[in-house]
Amino acid sequence: MPKVTINGQVYEAAKGKTIIQVADDIGVQIPRYCYHPDIGIEGSCRMCLVEVKSAPKLLPACATPVTENMDVRTDTQRVHEAVRYAMEFLLLHHPIDCPVCDQSGECWLQDYYMAHAGHDSRYPLGQKTRRRKAFNLGPLVKLDQERCILCTRCVRFTRHVTKTNEIQVFNRAHNSEIGIFEDRPLNNPYSGNVVDVCPVGALTSADFRFKARVWFLKGTDSVCAGCSTGCNLRIDHTARAAGGGIPGYTATDGKIYRTVGRRNVEVNKSWLCDEGRLSFHTLERWPRLRQASVRGKQQPVSALLPVIHANFESVRSDHGDDAVAALASATNTNEGLFLMKKYFKGRLDFRLGREVEQYQQQQDELLRRYDKHPNTHGALDLGLAGGLGGLRRLRDLAEKKEVRGMWISFHPQLVGEDAPEIIEDLKRLIEALEWSVVCTTHDFGWAHEADFLLPMAAWAEEKGTYTNYAGRVQIANRAVMPAGDAEPLHVLMAELLNLSGVEVPTDPAAIFEWIASEVPGYGGLDYDAIGPSGAAVAPVPEEVLR
């Protein structure tokens, strides 16, 4: 463990780390463009130059490993001047089209110019080199060569992370520019990440292009619900996340504009797959279910819940406890599923298809997994894969009239399509049941066959925890308000439990406390202590899986 002095403070750093990594760990800001912790070292931007006592020249902090008794200074006049000149060169041919650039507001050129440069350009605007603007690299990425500073983060991303090598540096010296080969567009399943890693406005998202200026957006840390990997992301959305204002006039429910990868070394590093990145559009694919209804007649949710509870009670008393069952969705949070298990006394299942076999299978080498539900592991941990045996078996039970009343919660897959046979089975299940409650997010035609239809908050509209494929509990926060009268599942279940005489809190943190006290593996976990990067639970025992 070499002892390193940075700006007069002595730190112990792990051997082999570079100066910039040590500085990041201890919170010393070193400007950089080309260095990205998950892509690797290039040393081309010359922004991270620091003064090291024993070295005659300034050294790039990103490429210099720390050594014993190294004395680093990041705040001397020499360093300031070096950064200032580096900035002047980088901005020499910059078109200064910030007003139309989607990156402005989160552009590192803007930030570092204000922090370290602040010079007037010595190059007249009319004489700057013009290059190609706004052309498509692939379906999701647009390139503007004028704004590019050739940090080659995108080149190294396709070289080291996706290993597809679509983006390259073409030509030499002043003529060098980022580009793709004519017949090979940037269309790998992770192409959106080059937009995230680009520190300037050279690579911008075609999906988010001109939708909003970033300073109008509010970021909410969350977890992707596209598959069981549970990649960490930030939801950028508008509007308040909690009520107020005049409904329909000054109050809005908020709108999600984009999602951006959030770094979590344990799960997804900094990356997101394109499907997951665009998965929030799935919520707009169908019209949302906004109001509860009883056989087509609209009713307020609060009036319906006592009726539903009374119905379940009467089925239980007429045909025994086993006549009531529930089908959960592995896209719901642990909190919702846990309360659901409590209300239905363990007679529930969540398996629609082959989730349990698939949730740990990788679809590719990077992130994606075959199971497109974010909380399959959590549902297994809570013991939801019991004797009921999944959707197919529940349908058989209903057809044999062993199950008469059922609660079916359904959340569509955010990535890909739900298998048609699942929808077919759901239809047959509802037909076979004596009476049914369907609690869903969107206005699906098949759901109207049910006696009771309840709107449920979708992903990004509720707060709670998901447990990813590796058993990592992560918090998904609420970014926007639920559509219409929709409520999160844990709120609905808490109200039903209250009706049956069990006092239940509606706050996810309090419910999680309950989970921690009962579910094996979750003991010792605390909602507030999970934090932005999640916490691991103990592995699922084999007998629970079966």
Binding site: D97, C98, P99, V100, R132, K133, A134, F135, R209, F210, K211, R213, W215, F216, L217, K218, T238, A239, R240, A241, G245, G248, Y249, T250, A251, T252, G254, K255
Partner: protein, 218 residues
Amino acid sequence: MTPVSGGYAVDVPTINVSERARGEHATIWSTFRAFAVTLRRLFTSLFKGDIPTINYPEESRPYSERFRGTHILTVRDDGSLKCVACYMCATICPAECIYIEAGEHPNPEIEKFPTRFDIDMMRCIYCGFCVDACPEEAIIMSREHHQSVYERSETIYGIEKLMARPGIDAKGPGYRPNRPMAEAKIFKKQEQQTCPFPSHIEERHPAVLYESMIRRRG
């Protein structure tokens, strides 16, 4: 300057109000004096033609070149909107009355243009910050200030109304960065028969406009 008694730095005459009222006490003489003033005014306006009254609204006083009336969106030489939808005006606007939606311009040099640009004139406080913030001289103010409409929704001006509406020519431009317009000009119907991008202007509803205003309060 030394302070005098009473704390004033200068010598302020004190007025005894009751004394003054006694002096101006209405008598028969003061009544006739007042009639005389009226008569004198009547004859000067009748025979000398010196009428101070303006027959508003047929006539109006000349307004300052810097008058901040309803906005004008300026155009390029080819008659297309100068605006590049950078949202600087919407960002600076203290009344949060500007709503913009941007689209892809066919020319990559321009790149961006507004497919929708709404100003809620009832919310606007006519501060002129949008004009100051604009990097393109694309929004200026006019000397027009009439707001007589039948419905509240008509006070939300869209692109068409902001760039070409009757009355802009008559009143002329108001507050703007350059006195003779340097980079842009005001759209004139005679030069260009069709308004560019009319198809983008759709039915507007106030609730949609307010979505942009709520953004920053979240």
